[in-house]
């Protein structure tokens, strides 16, 4: 005979609730992975918030944002000018943040253009199927086959010097990625049993697209759009750096870097280093947020509760 009741000597502890995840890990503390992800997300969000706030407020509040002062050219960073001054004696701290504001605005608007166009093309292509799908996908291939920067340069060259041209040149070259993502999502969804059930009960194509397909792909589409933002910032910078982008009087990061080229040769490293650092910090924080978000959108992680 076995004394089953002898186990009760350890009474007490087993009556309290224990987290399954912690027991499994064999540790009293949390698994760490989730905590690290939260920390990363927090850091990314606060860096981005700080940058955006600074870009919005500093140039507006500063007394003389774009003042040229030939008495103070190429001053190295110091208490009066935290980022130093450029070859025309403008304060780089204010000017870089103003540039960031312009660059971000252009990037966000052109990303929105890409996302809308890409979602529309991808959704239509995926839900219609057949020849319409094949045709649209060949267009996507064609857009993808030409280097983005080259295509962008052509568009900008046609309408040089306007903000709209830059927005369109980025927007019209980047929707193809979004379209592909959205289309493959739609293809996976359109034969789901719940779509079958809707079709069987008389729903039309448009109803199914609006009520079942689009709501399901919004997270994926939005994610691929956010992933485009850093890319678009770099594109804008590259176009402006080449002198093809925004009009020179608009301080964008690209224009500032372009202006700073000669300064660097004269030893004024800060003219390029600080604006570039702002650019890198912004893009890194955006992609950091997108990475955490992607982990949440991935479906295997979504269903925590399987009864």
């Amino acid at each position: 005979m076995v004394e089953l009741d002898s186990h009760d000597t350890t009474a007490g502890e087993h009556r309290s609730w224990r987290s399954a995840a912690r027991v499994r890990a064999g540790t009293a503390r949390g698994t760490g992975g989730a905590a690290r992800a939260r920390l990363r997300l927090g850091a990314a969000v606060s860096v981005l918030a700080l940058l955006v706030l600074a870009a919005l407020l500093v140039p507006t509040l500063s007394s003389a944002p774009g003042t040229v002062d030939y008495q103070a050219v190429r001053l190295s960073p110091g208490p009066e000018h935290p980022f130093g001054t450029d070859t025309s004696g403008r304060d780089l701290f204010v000017r870089s943040l103003a540039g960031l504001r312009v660059s971000l605005l252009v990037a966000v608007v052109s990303t929105a253009v890409s996302a809308l166009l890409g979602t529309a093309v991808g959704a239509v292509s995926g839900s219609l199927g057949g020849w319409a799908d094949r045709l649209l996908m060949r267009v996507v291939d064609a857009v993808n086959a030409v280097p983005h920067l080259l295509l962008g340069i052509v568009i900008v060259a046609l309408y040089q010097g306007t903000v709209l041209a830059v927005v369109l040149s980025i927007g019209l070259t980047h929707w193809a990625t979004v379209a592909r993502v959205v289309r493959s999502e739609v293809l996976g969804l359109r034969n789901r049993p719940y779509v079958d059930a809707a079709v069987s009960s008389g729903a039309g194509r448009w109803w199914v697209l609006r009520k079942h397909l689009l709501p399901a792909i919004v997270p994926q589409a939005a994610l691929s759009a956010v992933l485009l933002v850093p890319h678009a910032v770099f594109h804008e910078t590259a176009l402006s750096f080449l002198g093809l982008g925004l009009p020179p009087h608009l301080a964008s990061i690209g224009n500032i870097l372009s202006d700073g080229r000669e300064g660097v040769l004269l030893g004024a490293w800060w003219i390029v280093a600080f604006p570039a650092a702002l650019l890198v910090a912004t893009t890194l924080s955006v992609s950091g947020i997108a990475a955490v978000w992607r982990d949440r959108v991935v479906p295997t992680r979504r269903s925590e509760l399987a009864l």
Partner: protein, 213 residues
């Protein structure tokens, strides 16, 4: 009556799952269809529900042949045949409440506020107001299947295909849903094709009218 005439259908080219199948679903009665898994019962269900185009042969609805499948079939014909699948969970959009699920066939046909009919359907299938406001992941398989049945019969189909409708359900929910379908047959004259591999169930459901494959 709903009839599959000489239907050949399948998924991969050259491998027909159904080979010249003839099945008749009479109105106002339950006809059972029993057979081992993989014999094409579900394919027949999809063909009869106008969700899949047969390679050859036709589906006849009250004597008239139906051309095409899915969107190419006029909505009035599609709503004449309802279908309930084996697994309720994938058959429901996870972003909709049960109320939205049940009312979808009516809203999709342009009825803005079908709430009175939804109330009737809920009462028929044994759902209540509180359950209708829940999301699919907040209810059990049995409750979800009740909603699927309510959705299938919402547009008052003349025929109903139950493709292993009770395969995932416990005895009590099975009995409850079979009763609901029985009421439809008696009161609305719905013609039902009950597909299952469970012969004792079919015998209790369809009486002697069971086709064996």
């Amino acid at each position: 009556m709903l009839r599959a005439r000489e239907v050949v259908a399948g998924y991969d080219r050259g491998r027909a799952v159904l080979d010249r199948v003839d099945v008749v679903v009479p109105p106002g009665a339950v006809r059972g269809l029993a057979g081992p898994s993989g014999c094409g019962k579900s394919t027949l269900a999809r063909v009869l529900a106008l969700l899949q185009r047969p390679w050859s042969g036709t589906v006849e609805l009250d004597g008239r042949p139906v051309r095409g499948a899915r969107y190419s079939v006029p909505a009035e014909l599609r709503t004449a045949v309802g279908i309930v699948f084996q697994q309720p969970r994938p058959a429901v959009d996870p972003r909709m409440t049960l109320r939205q699920v049940v009312s979808e066939p009516l809203r999709a046909r342009g009825i803005r506020r079908p709430w009175r009919r939804v109330g009737e359907l809920a009462e028929l299938t044994g759902l209540n107001d509180e359950l209708l406001d829940r999301m699919p992941h907040e209810v059990s398989d049995g409750q979800l299947q009740r909603a699927c049945l309510a959705r299938a019969v919402a547009p008052r189909p003349r025929y109903l295909i139950c493709d292993e409708m009770t395969g995932m359900l416990d005895a009590s929910t099975t009995a409850a849903l079979v009763r609901v379908v029985g009421e439809l047959v008696n009161e609305e004259g719905t013609g039902v094709l009950a597909i299952s591999h469970d012969e004792p169930l079919l015998l209790a459901w369809a009486g002697d009218d069971v086709i064996r494959w």
